[in-house]
Amino acid sequence: MDFETALHVLIELAGAIWVTLALAAATLPLGFVLAAIATWARASRRRILRMIASAYVLSFRSTPLLVQIFVLYYGLSQFAWLRESPAWIVLKEPFACAVIAMSLCTGAYTAEVMRGGLAAVPKGAIEAARALGLSPLKVLFLVTVPIAARRALPAYSNEIVVTLKATSLASTITVMELTGVAKDLMSQTFAVIQVFCMVAAIYLAINTILILALRSLELYLTPLHERPRSRSEIAWKKAPA
């Protein structure tokens, strides 16, 4: 690939970074809200709510995102009544469809992350808070949520990175994010491996920044006495080299 082509490719790709970031930025909060609702419903006393939420989590975790996007975008548009309803204003737009499909998917995964975080909250802490006379709502927001959030953060940061990478599937429904632009450039220039390596470097850069930032957040939220190192030193200190 000559210099001119490389420059052209880089400029085109740089322009698409924003679309990728916008997709992720719109998807993550929506997915988080969906996950919170699902988590609440799964803990609810009503059987029907629990069942709906569990079915949602199971079905969206077990089918490939590609299929979900495809069905939401091309599948729903088959119905004439839907095309005449107000929902079509939103569903007509590829970007909106991509965000909805990805939010539903990441919401299901995030619900699992939340469940894991909640399960890791020691019962003693909750009982202690109750014994101090805190109201259930206060117990939830002052004790349960902070502890659960810290426990769930590593898994949630994983989910953030996965979502960012998953935005690449939006190109299958004509959203021209990084991968979509890259595919077009590959088809024009035939420099498949080179273009792909450039895209990968961009994804890697974004994700590394994300991973490092989330890791320092994790460390910041961990109390001093629980920070890593001490225990592994007990284990390995005497291990034969």
Binding site: L58, S59, R61, S62, T63, P64, L65, L66, V67, Q68, F70, V71, Y74, G75, Q78, E112, G116, P154, N158, V161, K165, S168, T179, I193, F196, C197, V199, A200, Y203, L204, I206, N207, T208, I211, P228, R231, S232, I234, A235, W236, K237, K238, A239, P240
Partner: protein, 236 residues
Amino acid sequence: MAGDASLLEILAWGDQGWSRPLLVGLGVTVACASLGYILGIALGFGLALAKLGRNRWIAAAANVYTTVVRGVPPLLVIFLLFFGTNGALMWIARGFGYTGYIEVDAFTVGVMAVTLVSASYSSEVFRGAYATIPEGQFEAFAALGLRPFTGLCLVIMPQMFRLALPGLGNVWIMAIKETTLLSVISLAELMRVVGLAGRTTGQPFVFYGAAAVIYLVLVAVSSRAFVAAENRMRWG
């Protein structure tokens, strides 16, 4: 035009229907995912040990590996593996005077890709599991007079596996989904068959719907197995 064939004809068993190719595709998917998953867990366990070990360089290398594999789109891992291994093999062969084309077959590359990705994720799962083992356990085996190595093998590792099980279940789902991308290197797994069938019959929804159901069943059944294993391993 094929688009007007009935559903029954499209899904029939035999030369004209797509049932058999779909089933073969499913077989390839399951074989590739499970082989890659088993190898990936073994490699991931090694990586977790490397990260927890005292040697700072080995730990750093393991961390870089995990970050890179997690940070790069999975499709690229597959691409680079396929064209990279072929290129490397041909380069070596050229040194011996052979100039033809050599290829590592797509299935092997698929297994390798699933292995690398699930190794990266499972190493984090193992590391997390290790971190949640209470400190008392370490002090307990030391008090029993076990040597560190014996203690790790007999006391810590079994617990590590038990604690890692839910996380490993997620890695399995990821392994299955990873295989959906392997069609680019001409591996005829389920998703490739679905795409081809959808396009040639002009009935994409029938096949994408079928794919959704098949993957759902596959994941639901294996999740059950993981939950059962978790319950079995829970004691006390």
